[in-house]
């Protein structure tokens, strides 16, 4: 059957998100299959009933998502809430909400899509420890300095520019800044500037009026309006066309803009966090990025070091991802073996944390449930090949030298400890250092037996 002929119900039943619609009286008139799965209610049990009687959320009274859209005229995205399932358990959800209107632009119903975030909640609770800062994992000095900076700027509304290679976790740092800020309860909107054509990016950021361009069939608020009083995260800001950079500069300076195709000036109060993996100074030299915008964005600069420069974070990240995938894949894998760890500690990580996550997921997929440790041969072949070219530790051991990089030192000491079956006195003697110096090194480098 072609898409055009497919009944709407079939399409909506095929999506993974729960979805229901209500009429003008807030009585449910559509309930898809995923909604049945999440809530435990059958469609026929809920149709014609008031949504507040089904979902029994505290927010039904104070913050009904459809009511909020009706009041503000702005759709809701990713609002966290809870619902009570048929069996009485409370499920945390994230929801989107919007209004259905008739030809006269009058509301005739509402639509709410939602997804169960129980697993995410478990993960959040499970991984809240000293090595985490609002979801960002970092044990290294460099990351702790970033965490301190985020604490220091918690009361500020100043623009932040996050720079770092791909996969270093720029968005996670932006999330932490938002969660720690005074605007944490206000809208938090994210836009990736690289995925839109220049015209669509303008419309996405500033909105448009009906007829502004082909396909603009009705007025639409842009992300700046939606984020009013909140925070806007502009990812890959260096990809923004130069003309648009000028418009962004104006919003940052004056808080004003116009929707595409409209002359009316609108004013918003939005805190901007921008991120890029490009060297903006080079972009300025090549006239691809406006210098004035750079200085406006770069009020609080944050540079996230690449993973290869903070190997002490690697074991913590590995543990985090192992716990995460153990929950998601429901496997009893708890660790990675020493050889595999050594290999990962010495890898150059061009793809940074994202690459590490992918590698652990690969190892998870290949490790059988009866083996609770990811072994070296379960890591991707490309990573294993790299180990052939990386035998710094041998060289270091020969020299009994502890002056290499952190990762080199870590590998060298670990191998020496294994060689002497963790007898620290013998290791210290062979290295020609005191036992307490060795102990300090082990602690400092976070080497565990």
């Amino acid at each position: 059957m072609g898409l055009r002929e497919a009944p709407t119900d079939d399409i909506l039943d095929s999506i993974g998100e729960g979805l229901f619609t209500v009429d003008v009286n807030f009585k449910i008139n559509y309930f898809n299959r995923a909604a049945e799965t999440i809530t435990g209610y059958k469609r026929e049990e809920v149709l014609g009933r008031l949504c507040k009687h089904i979902f029994q959320s505290n927010q039904c009274f104070d913050k009904c998502p459809i009511g909020r859209v009706l009041e503000s005229g702005k759709n809701i995205y990713d609002m966290e809430s809870t619902i009570r399932n048929k069996n009485g358990t409370v499920t945390p959800i994230k929801l989107n909400s919007s209004i259905l209107k008739n030809e006269d632009d009058e509301p005739v119903g509402g639509v709410v899509s939602f997804r169960d975030i129980s697993d995410l909640e478990i993960l959040r609770n499970k991984f809240t420890d000293d090595n985490q800062f609002y979801g960002v994992i970092g044990h290294s000095k460099a990351m702790h300095e970033i965490f301190e900076l985020i604490e220091e700027i918690a009361d500020s509304d100043a623009t932040v520019l996050i720079q770092g290679d791909s996969g270093t976790g720029k968005e996670m740092v932006a999330n932490a800044i938002q969660m720690r800020s005074q605007r944490k309860k206000m809208p938090y909107i994210k836009v990736n500037c690289s995925v839109f054509t220049p015209q669509l990016l303008a419309s996405e950021l500033f909105g448009h009026v009906k007829g502004a361009f082909t396909g603009a069939i009705k007025d639409r608020a842009g992300r700046f309006e939606v984020a009013d009083k909140g925070t806007l995260f502009l990812d890959e800001v260096a990809e923004m066309p130069t003309q648009m950079q000028l418009q962004l500069l104006r919003v940052l300076q004056e808080g004003t803009f116009e929707r595409v195709g409209e002359s009316k000036t609108r004013k918003v109060d939005v805190r901007v966090i921008a991120a890029t993996n490009k060297n903006l100074k080079e972009e300025i030299e090549h006239k691809r990025f406006r210098e004035d915008l750079y200085y406006r964005l770069n009020v609080i600069p944050i540079e996230i070091p690449p993973l290869k420069d903070r190997p002490e974070d690697i074991p913590h990240l590995i543990q985090y991802f192992i716990k995460k995938f153990a929950l998601l894949y429901k496997k009893n894998i708890q660790d990675i073996d020493d050889q595999a760890l050594d290999l990962l500690l010495n890898y150059s990580w061009p793809g940074n944390i994202r690459e590490l996550e992918n590698i652990i997921e690969y190892g998870f997929a290949r490790t059988r449930d009866n083996n609770n440790v990811i072994q070296l041969d379960k890591l991707p072949p490309s990573i294993r090949k790299s180990s052939v070219n990386y035998r710094v530790s041998d060289r270091m051991l020969e020299k009994s030298d502890l002056t290499g990089s952190v990762s080199e030192q870590k590998v060298a000491i670990r191998q020496m400890l294994e060689k002497h079956r963790w007898n620290k006195t013998r290791v210290a003697k062979e290295l020609g250092i005191g036992r307490s110096t060795l102990w300090r090194k082990i602690k400092q480098l976070d080497i565990e037996e």
């Binding site: 807030f26 009706l70 009041e71 209004i99 119903g109």
Partner: protein
């Protein structure tokens, strides 16, 4: 936004806001029984007794079932809880006429006999009030018709 937003406020028991929005909706759809049925409760709860009566009388003249046949669960009618609170507070009400009148109107959403009882009580406080006499007469006529049908 008015009717749907008014309905939302009504569900959230924000009667002042609901009255404001539903009045706007009524301007567009003056014949809507659903809107008027909710507005009566909103005005009673906001202390706008005169406006509540102004809506109540024509509505029962048109069709008492609009109010009497409401389902507290299906329609999320707040009357049972409002009545429960009101009857508990009987002793603190100085103006018995208004108190009984309010209960008479609210009880009609739940029980016709009780409604007539309270309208009669308010009539005792104000025997010359023709509007109350008219309401009682309409309700008694309705009750009689229903008794005949059930026989």
């Amino acid at each position: 936004m008015s009717e749907m937003l008014g309905n939302q406020y009504f569900l959230a028991r924000k009667f002042v806001q609901a009255a404001r929005e539903l009045e706007k909706a009524l301007l567009k759809r003056p014949a809507s029984k659903k809107i008027r049925r909710k507005l009566i409760i909103c005005h009673l709860q906001s202390g706008e007794m005169n406006r509540a009566i102004e809506l109540f009388v024509p509505l029962i003249e048109e069709n008492i079932d609009t109010i009497a046949k409401s389902d507290p669960m299906f329609d999320d009618c707040p009357c049972p809880e409002i009545i429960y609170d009101l009857e508990k507070q009987a002793r603190i009400y100085q103006d018995l006429f208004s108190y009984n009148l309010k209960l008479g109107i609210l009880w009609l959403y739940c029980d016709v006999d009780k409604s007539i009882h309270y309208f009669r009580m308010s009539e005792k406080s104000n025997p010359e009030n023709t509007l109350i006499k008219k309401i009682i007469s309409l309700l008694q006529e309705y009750q009689l018709k229903h008794e005949q049908v059930s026989r």
